[in-house]
Symmetry: C2
Subunit: 328 residues, 2 copies
Amino acid sequence: MYRGAAIRTSVMKKRSRKEIILIALGGNALIKKGEKGTAEEQFRNLKTPISQIARLSKDYKIIITHGNGPQVGNLLLQQECCTSVPKLPLEILVAQTQGQIGYMIESTLDSELMALGADAQKPLVSLISYVVVDEKDPAFLKPSKPIGPVYRKEEISTLPYPTIKTEKGYRRVVASPRPITIVEKKEIISLVENGFIVICCGGGGIPVIRYGRTFSGVDAVIDKDLSSAKLAEEVGADIFIIATDVEGVALRYGKPDQEFLRTINTQEAMEYLSDGYFPPGSMGPKIEAAIAFLEKGGKRAFITSIRSIEAAVKGLTGTEIISSNSIQ
Amino acid sequence: MYRGAAIRTSVMKKRSRKEIILIALGGNALIKKGEKGTAEEQFRNLKTPISQIARLSKDYKIIITHGNGPQVGNLLLQQECCTSVPKLPLEILVAQTQGQIGYMIESTLDSELMALGADAQKPLVSLISYVVVDEKDPAFLKPSKPIGPVYRKEEISTLPYPTIKTEKGYRRVVASPRPITIVEKKEIISLVENGFIVICCGGGGIPVIRYGRTFSGVDAVIDKDLSSAKLAEEVGADIFIIATDVEGVALRYGKPDQEFLRTINTQEAMEYLSDGYFPPGSMGPKIEAAIAFLEKGGKRAFITSIRSIEAAVKGLTGTEIISSNSIQ
């Protein structure tokens, strides 16, 4: 905590006028429902959020994070099919998706910035990122995150890892521990301060445990919104945007009496959360992430759709979560 | 040419005292002959070069590049096995290997630097890198680089790409165009100047062609030593080390009258090259890369083994290629 505070202060001192926005792109930024996830589809879909981010980079310093669910799922599927190639642990597959999606985002952003003309050019980097988790995190005792292919019941006894029964069938299950710190945070701060647009923390980051003087990867998946909130805190971001597949946060989502929330404060958000309004696997962690960011000193947090990133920053749509402490 | 020269001059002006070493790691830094390439093998093998590089980082600024042959081959094999997942183009697979190997190198280097103590800590980044090639490069007319799985003769007519007959059987063949420029060069210069150790240009970089205001990936593989030489030139590196599986350059390699070369100048190297002493698929491009680096103003170039990186820098082993112009 003290360390995070120290970093924030030093960032505040060094910071030039432009505010830092961290944008966490949901899986549908790359692969939409019903799509198989060809390269063409992913590049085409990315133009929607990335063209907005290119324009925002005129007025803000930018950090982009992203999910990797379907991409890491595809790599797991491929590993299962192919017996002649050694299976790689999950941490390495997450690293592969950081390479893949980092490249796709960076090259799309390159093109969008070029389209805006010479003035819009900025240095860009896509970074490999790993995130420290605590080996004593209770999540390791009760793995809950289903990943990869669907198995038949008779197959699961032959698998070298635990499975759970899901709606689709049996799936491998891994722990989803909480992010403690982003290993590359100082590097990311330095880059952002030097005017770079940074793409990082893909898939929530590669989960590692620190043993004495080494880092060691673990079979786990960190929620990308929680990692993004941790990064936003550690780099001293001003604005945190969670871009997903709905226009904003709603109570009784999809029901006839659905109620769209334009603004809620962290106190209300925590109450709705504990009352079970937001499902654990979808809106829950996004609300949690927004609260965590604001409680650590972040200024503004938004949950909105991939299509509405710019509009949300302008206050025209989406849900803004505001700190209860700032309402007097 | 002019642009490279301009960059070099500006780099020279800004540079602090420490020289920049660019180290290009060959495939055997990760997977040795006879190994299948498990994650454990790759992490274990990396300790040999990376522990040396950690020590060198005390006295030099460091850039690390690396090959990706077996890793991208495995991804191609997996794609072939698994029909339920959309096949991704080669550029995306190269990006995936940059993620994978970048993570493996960075985390190994992290551990090695931690083992050296607090003074040895430096900021590290693994970057996605793409490299511009010329769509008119004659290599595209005559693809020559075999990649991926081995096919039987009766299979090849069903494949959507050209193949060639190799010793092992039929294989897919792609172009190996020359690198024109590393897209992230300015970013890499800025990072190195700011004291970062940079891991980049994996697998020779993701090959892209520039069409007007966009970059577009192409099915090709750029030789990693030639890309590394281009990067060394563009960032104004002082020393270029090609680390491979032999102690240095030899004439009549593996023959009874093999002659190990401790030092050769670029003029001699070019003569040996045109006399066919160095095979195109192995030592040839390394010699070419060393010559290219020195002709563009680089100071010192070495070809040596993964085990002997430090010793070569100290002049104790390996082959040093020196510029003919500097011998008076």
